[in-house]
């Protein structure tokens, strides 16, 4: 794309469709250089491989750019919005414009991660206000990704850049729809999976069940404790806000232990778990904590109530 900057006064969230890694470099380098020349802080979060290529191409200019390995900062996609928020908070208080490149989706993402990444992309339209002076480019590799993934990028981004032209997506679902309750289908629970109904008197049983399953799945002690803690926090939310009770199910899938908590409450804050808790003591913290310690957290708001699935892999 060219580095001509259309007059931008506020937040721009663009999908960049590229074809293969050389194309990625040739399309993103002008965007990065344009930011550097304008004196704008630039943050690039993509794969380690692409970071190396960008550094090589940018030469000495690379020193003006902050790079982050998306496989680390965005391993759980729900941690990416606070990551961008921190960058925004660092620089925009003094009225500066900023640029970012964030590539949360790559072919190695699991099916569950992909859905959460797509939710993340939609929520980026909600999390940052239209006045935020940030130009954020989200690259999608059309050579490597399923066409349906590229199609969804057109729904989650107001603008799209293909070849050298930037255009309105035309398929963007809008900010309100981006914030709508999320009810994407979840993978079926394995048949025969035991269900434990908990209430105010049985949160200690929830902790014991999760702890036993974590040991059985080979989680190390620290991660087992983390999972027990966040399962308790989610179940405690059920007791307090979700109708006083809920159902816990635990199973293993593809190297991860999954704890599911269902209740009859509604989780109606779209950014729940994605906003760093402020100083206000009463601010909720349970789902924030879940996102900090779990590899993946799936939150669904269904007609029958809420579902939260906590994923903890056993090999890290």
């Amino acid at each position: 794309m060219s580095d001509r900057s259309p007059p931008r006064t506020g937040y721009q969230h663009d999908a960049l469709l590229y074809a293969g890694i050389p194309d990625f470099v040739s399309r993103t380098v002008p965007f990065v250089r344009g930011g550097i020349e304008a004196g704008e802080p630039v943050l690039v979060a993509t794969s380690a491989e692409k970071i190396d290529l960008l550094r090589a191409d940018l030469g000495a200019d690379a020193a003006a750019v902050v790079f982050a390995d998306m496989a680390v900062v965005g391993a759980n996609p729900a941690r990416i919005i606070p990551f961008w928020q921190e960058f925004v908070d660092q620089h925009t208080a003094e009225g500066r414009s900023i640029r970012g490149i964030g590539e949360p989706i790559w072919p190695g993402r699991s099916a569950d991660e992909l859905v959460e990444c797509q939710r993340h992309e939609s929520l980026l339209n909600v999390a940052l206000s239209p006045a935020t002076p940030m130009w954020l480019l989200c690259p999608y590799d059309i050579d490597a990704l399923d066409p349906a993934v590229v199609e969804e990028a057109l729904h989650s981004h107001p603008f799209v850049t293909e070849c050298t032209t930037q255009r309105e997506s035309g398929a963007f679902r809008g900010v309100d729809a981006s914030a709508a309750p999320f009810d994407a289908p979840l993978a079926p629970v394995p048949s025969g999976c035991h269900e434990f109904s908990f209430g105010p008197g049985s949160l200690s049983v929830v902790r014991d069940l999760v702890s036993a399953s974590a040991s059985g799945a080979g989680l190390d002690a620290a991660r087992a404790q983390d999972l027990v803690q966040v399962a308790h926090e989610v179940a405690a939310n059920s007791v307090r806000h979700g109708g006083g009770r809920g159902a816990l199910r635990i199973w293993r899938d593809a190297g991860a232990l999954i704890c599911e908590i269902r209740d009859q409450g509604r989780i109606d804050q779209p950014l729940v778990g994605r906003e760093r808790p402020g100083v206000a003591v009463e601010a909720p913290r349970g789902l924030w904590l879940a996102n900090q310690v779990c590899d993946l957290v799936q939150i669904r708001c269904l007609q029958a109530g809420s579902v939260v699935r906590l994923h903890m892999r056993s090999y890290t």
């Binding site: 902790r207 983390d226 803690q229 308790h232 307090r240 808790p277 003591v281 913290r285 310690v293």
Partner: protein
Amino acid sequence: MSLVRSAGGGELQPMAGWHEGEPLYTDKQFVIRHTVPPNGLTFAGVLDLFNADSVAGAVAPLLSGEGDLHIDLSKVEFCDVSGIRALVSTAQSGRRRLVLHGLPRALHRVMMLVGWGDLPSLQLCDCGMERK
């Protein structure tokens, strides 16, 4: 019985050598005791959404005095965000600073992750962090 000891190396931690005194608060899952010397408390058991407010209510009157109030948490089996919130809220509303000792590692981690690791009214002592 003496409270939190150093993790090794013989360096004394602030509450090492303190002794448990009379109970201040008891429920079916949690006990708070005074200490000797008297500017401390020990917590033991489970602190969660069910007793967080009661525990905060029991501690609050002690926070109008002078100097730091030291709390040994080494015998806390589990503490949830509601429990920590009650401690933070109590610390912010009182005059005395709270100093927490012997935090179980998981609890220390949770406090850091939810943004309560660096508050002026609530000091985390790292004694006991080496313990399992």
